[in-house]
């Protein structure tokens, strides 16, 4: 009886445990469908999300995303998510949409004003991992999946403790406006 009670409690707490813990080394999830976006009209995209990030619930994949984020030097432009040359990623403002597949498209196809296209150089698994990490930066994924603090200088609060920031209506970047 007690066994049942405890097991039940554990099952509830560990729900999604399997998914959260899976280590999928040899995985090639489908890419987000290509989004066509002309250079001329950057700005808010209101795109019905037809596709979730396959790794949203997978802690390991997102930790890999975090690793890639620093190894591929995304910090060079985006800082630790705080933004620098590039826009910040840890706020509620999404220039090209906050939906996973928009973020995917942004990484895969690049964006005007300096975001290069990594489509050819990263496979869909890596891109989805990065997308997951970018989502975690603004608390858009489950806390028990988000990465903890990293083993180097602490530059920002750990993603685990980032509050969820509901995507707000996003503004066109000043530079882009300038060009129009």
């Amino acid at each position: 009886m007690i066994l049942v009670r405890i097991a039940a409690a554990l099952l509830v707490l560990a729900c999604g445990g399997c998914e959260r813990e899976a280590r999928r080394f040899d995985d090639s999830p489908p890419p987000a469908r290509p989004v066509t976006m002309s250079e001329l009209e950057p700005g808010p995209r209101t795109m019905a999300s037809t596709m979730r990030n396959p790794y949203e619930g997978n802690a390991w994949a997102i930790s890999q995303g975090k690793r890639l984020f620093s190894q591929f030097n995304c910090v060079g432009c985006h800082g630790q998510g705080g933004g620098a040359i590039g826009p910040p990623l840890m706020d509620d403002e999404w220039i090209y949409g906050s939906e996973p597949e928009n973020v995917f498209a942004t990484i895969a196809q690049g964006r005007p004003n300096g975001m290069p296209a990594f489509g050819g150089k990263l496979n869909s698994q890596q891109i989805w991992q990065l997308v997951g990490y970018v989502q975690s930066l603004s608390g858009l994924i489950r806390k028990d999946v988000a990465p903890g603090r990293d083993d180097h200088m602490q530059r920002k609060a750990q993603e685990q403790s980032t509050d969820k920031m509901e995507p707000a209506s996003s503004g066109i970047p000043a530079s882009a406006e300038g060009r129009q």
């Binding site: 603090r149 602490q154 609060a157 750990q158």
Partner: protein
């Protein structure tokens, strides 16, 4: 209702007392056992503190404020003074003096509540966060662990007070009161080195 009283070689224990205090009582040894465990845990915190101190060029690390001393000092003084009523509590308990025990237990409950409030100030007085750097982490965890002792003690004292006021009280609870007083001495005593290391330490380490 007691078993056979034949005169076998052996001992008859029917006249032994049922209420004894301190080391004569079994429960006291349980209390001491848990004191030993808690003391060891605090030794772990202190050991880790010095280990991390040895790792860092300056202590506290640069860009980290030293702890403020006002509240912690007040708190440690209050803790030390609070041992006096506990001494009186023990005396009253050993005399089975109900009024006295009730009086000093109420004082004790109030004091242990005060400790918890002061502890909050002591956390703020650390002037750093647990997730700032290792110094902050170990300071918070050490003070935090001792805080659990304070909270446990608050609960224990409060329950004992209620017990001594309820109709459920028996002589047993006078013994518990003595153990409680002993625990009190331990809890406040072990805080002194922690206070010296964690609050004064950064000024002379």
């Amino acid at each position: 209702m007691t078993a056979s009283s034949r005169n076998l070689p052996g001992v008859d224990v029917r006249h032994l007392p049922t209420t004894v205090f301190g080391a004569r009582d079994t429960a006291w040894w349980g209390t001491v056992g848990f004191m030993a465990i808690e003391a060891t845990t605090i030794v772990v915190c202190v050991a880790s503190y010095f280990y991390l101190w040895r790792n860092s060029a300056t202590w506290p690390p640069e860009h980290t404020l030293r702890p403020s001393l006002l509240w912690p000092t007040i708190a440690v003084i209050v803790m030390l003074v609070s041992n006096i009523p506990m001494v009186w509590l023990r005396r009253a308990a050993k005399r089975l003096d109900l009024a006295g025990v009730r009086r000093w237990l109420i004082v004790g409950t109030v004091l242990s509540a005060v400790f918890v409030v002061l502890r909050w100030q002591e956390f703020l007085a650390l002037n750093t966060r647990w997730d700032t750097n290792a110094y902050g982490s170990i300071a918070w965890l050490s003070v935090g662990f001792h805080a659990t002792l304070l909270i446990a003690n608050l609960g224990e004292t409060a329950v004992m007070t209620a017990m001594l006021h309820s109709s459920r009280r028996t002589e047993r609870h006078y013994t518990d009161a003595v153990d409680g007083a002993d625990y009190w001495h331990f809890m406040t005593g072990i805080w002194v080195p922690l206070y010296v290391i964690i609050y004064l330490g950064p000024y002379f380490l």
